[in-house]
Symmetry: C2
Subunit: 238 residues, 2 copies
């Protein structure tokens, strides 16, 4: 079974939702048969790479909140994160473009390190003091912490085209699947779960998707050239 998770590093509910999903997955009887893939989604795709500002300033400017409202929202998110055992820095966090981080997550997918890297990125963005935005060396350090090769990470960052199409393809696919926000969980391309739902909802979704495995439709099986327990079919001379 495969679970795809669309998310953004700059999305607090994605950070919290991942922990809730993993709680359900850890308790799922068939967890060893579940493959998790992370897909790209940018909440703020138009933002320039060097346009970095404090989250509170962004919230007041972009959504017209008062500074007190924005700060209260952050405190609330901190409480929700803490309930999942996650650290969350409610003050002076930065906001910026996550495009380069998504490109690195695609490199990490190819190297079997994607889940590690997204965990490292979330922690760095939400819990640590040093900003993750517009700082290539910081991203290389974090990539290495997730088991990637520093040279490979640096090469991806140096080439703006590297994995850019893959990020955009994920984003197009999110739109096609009907995701308006993140996190967005897709199980076997059959069931969707929108938002950081409680672990119980993820548990139910895993059970439901597991039970729904339907029999395959065989497209053609006459005269199959195949090998089986009784040997290999002897080919016809064409």
């Amino acid at each position: 079974m495969r679970v795809e998770i669309w998310s953004d590093i700059a999305c607090p509910w994605c950070y919290v939702g991942k922990a809730r999903f993993e709680k359900a997955l850890d308790a799922f009887a068939h967890r060893d048969d579940v493959e998790v893939v992370h897909r790209s989604f940018e909440l703020d795709p138009g933002r320039a790479r060097d346009d970095v500002q404090p989250v509170l300033a962004m919230l007041t400017k972009k959504y017209g909140m008062s500074e007190a409202q924005a700060q209260a929202g952050e405190e609330n998110l901190g409480t929700q994160a803490a309930a999942e055992g996650l650290e969350y820095r409610t003050r002076d966090r930065d906001h910026g473009s996550t495009f380069d981080m998504h490109r690195l997550l695609h490199l990490a997918k190819d190297r079997g390190r994607q889940d590690e890297l997204i965990g490292v990125f979330y922690r760095a963005n939400f819990a640590e003091e040093r900003s993750v935005f517009d700082d290539d060396e910081r991203l290389v350090e974090l990539s290495v912490a997730a088991g990637l090769d520093a040279g490979e990470a640096r090469a991806v960052l140096a080439d703006p085209a590297a994995y850019a199409d893959e990020v955009r393809a994920d984003e197009r696919e999110a739109a096609e699947l009907g995701a308006n926000g993140v996190p967005f969980f897709v199980l076997d391309r059959k069931y969707g779960v929108s938002g950081a739902q409680p672990a119980e909802v993820f548990a139910q979704a895993l059970e439901q998707a597991w039970a729904a495995h339907s029999p395959l439709k065989l497209i053609q099986q006459d005269d199959a050239e195949e090998c089986g327990p009784d040997g290999c079919a002897v080919p016809q001379q064409h």
Copy 2:
């Protein structure tokens, strides 16, 4: 879209079928949106690791063929392979356990090198003179040729439990999906193609599976704690 291919390194039709499938995939308009995963299947799961014998001897002993029949079958397979541009050594090839190769293919999956490694294994088994069976250093060399780390490959070979469960889980899944032989192709867990069919059949299967993408069933979307273009949902105080 995802295509899973169950196959065995010791299966000539898998070697040929992979080339035919790739011909169809290369010509498929959405090929960049197709992910290929290789799954384990052993044609001869009971064979001991050190029980290696020439293919012709195995065919005569196991299936009661005459040596001439067995040799003719190999020549025929060689002709089919050549038609796909593949080298195939019709004499003095060995047969043995492929379990360790399947374990390495699971390591390669985790490192994003699976398609490379299965290609290297096929070529080594079917086209090259040196046997791939019961020879750890040979498998390490081949793993390195596919971009894996020699130390990691060696560690997997040294620990008989490493990835053994993953191999068996793939084999159980093949049985659950109704595969009696290989190669067995599964598209989006919806369509199955059995055997090394002509490229046209794979092309049709890819088109059919692509057209059948069905809308997701959303399991719960009320009160979703998520972030979208208009900001992040403000959490309720629980």
